[in-house]
Symmetry: C2
Subunit: 226 residues, 2 copies
DNA sequence: TAACATTAGTAGCGACTCGTTACTAATTCT
DNA sequence: AGAATTAGTAACGAGTCGCTACTAATGTTA
């Protein structure tokens, strides 16, 4: 059984949601519950911040323990303090979203596993609420923040990038339109590498390299409000 | 001097940012500091949640005290727990955003005042950080949430609505384009009332009444990412 | 080895969208 | 009465978007 230094009845918990693309779905990292009464239950990695440690620092520390490579980014997304139960009995739980690039980071210790987000096992109710809120935030940030690129390795094919967008948006995109919009945005630049993966024509690898564009701000979009 | 029940050294504070349109600018409600050492300093309304009270309930209670009418909505937007000082010495501060409709709610007690957000007086550093983060969140949510309508009374003119959008976006919008986009989104419906305010032709009043539209989702927008 | 399957990538057409100019409408001010 | 001011709309041209249809380069199969 793992150690859990400040687990008992602390006022505050920092809970980390680590997400990565897994096949055609988003996967969340859960660890086996340290509570001996609840065997075979899963929960988000969490801890209480140590003295003098910021919330962000605590989240980074918590994320570092179950996987080898650090996530590309960690952002605070939600705080919950209601009657729903937290495994540590914390009054307030602050949820952090950690995005893990696809591919490399898969190695995981025996106490952790990736679960597709639409097939999560039973979890402590407050953590379950954190996950729902976190994923909702992720989806709304898609269009204003380079989230998709942080779920990919440094070099990726445009098909991979499109797959991540489809996974986050929950719908298929049209290849030609996707690429045209991407070109117009000056967000990626080609490398001179090509990757042949199984069948079909090899794909060129790209990297995330946003160029500053002239501020041609559009009017307003009401599309997403209703 | 006001009472402040749980002010001393509580672990957690709930800080409320109440925003309303004030002329052509966004204004934030601040209250005079209860700390006798710091005369003529201003701070966000805040308190620690009472036992058995959720964060949301606490925020609603805190918002109710300085103004007469309740804000239209309150949302949790950010949590900060770092070395920046909070007036109550709280380790963690959770920031809530409360949107107050323009017009009616102006009456305020003598201990509170509205400040334009670009002319805020000196404030406790952590609260200042909460405000900056909260306004950033507000701006990014503009396009996915009917924020502008919650800063207006139930009936409003289209010019008022456009003014709120301009205020939140920080740039002028074109009248015809704004209205065409609004019509296409089926977000408002006209009432049979008209308002003549000073000079010029009277304007028709509208109300927020979003219609469910067929899910004609667009492709992807990369515009706002760089 | 030739034909097929599969994946990558592009060209271009028609429909729709957006920014803008230019107008009409209804009221107050002088 | 006429100027000023604010509300609201029509319509043109440029640009964007979704889609079909194509070419390109590889592995698979007969």
């Amino acid at each position: 059984m793992r150690e859990r230094p400040s687990a008992r009845r602390s006022a505050l918990s920092v809970d980390v949601m680590m997400l990565t693309p897994h096949g055609r779905r988003l996967a969340l990292l859960l660890t086996r519950s340290a509570d001996s009464r609840a065997k075979e239950r899963w929960e988000l990695p969490w801890e209480s911040p140590r003295a003098g440690e910021t919330l962000e620092d605590a989240a980074a520390r918590i994320a570092r323990s179950p996987i080898e490579h650090a996530p590309s980014t960690i952002d605070q997304v939600v705080a919950i303090g209601d009657s729903r139960r937290h495994p540590g009995g914390a009054e307030i739980s602050v949820g952090f979203l950690a995005l893990v690039p696809a591919g490399a980071p898969s190695p995981v210790g025996g106490n952790s596993a990736w679960f597709p987000i639409d097939e999560l096992p039973p979890m402590p109710p407050r953590q379950r609420a954190l996950v729902d809120a976190g994923i909702a935030v992720l989806r709304t940030r898609l269009e204003t923040s380079p989230i998709a690129f942080r779920l990919l390795p440094a070099a990726f094919t445009l098909s991979q990038l499109q797959e991540v967008y489809e996974l986050l948006l929950g719908r298929r995109l049209h290849k030609a339109s996707f690429r045209r919009a991407l070109q117009a945005a000056f967000l990626v630049e080609p490398t001179d590498e090509w990757r042949s993966e199984g069948r079909g024509r090899p794909a060129q690898l790209f990297r995330f390299a946003p160029k500053k564009r002239r501020g041609a701000r559009r009017g307003v979009r009401f599309d997403a409000i209703g």
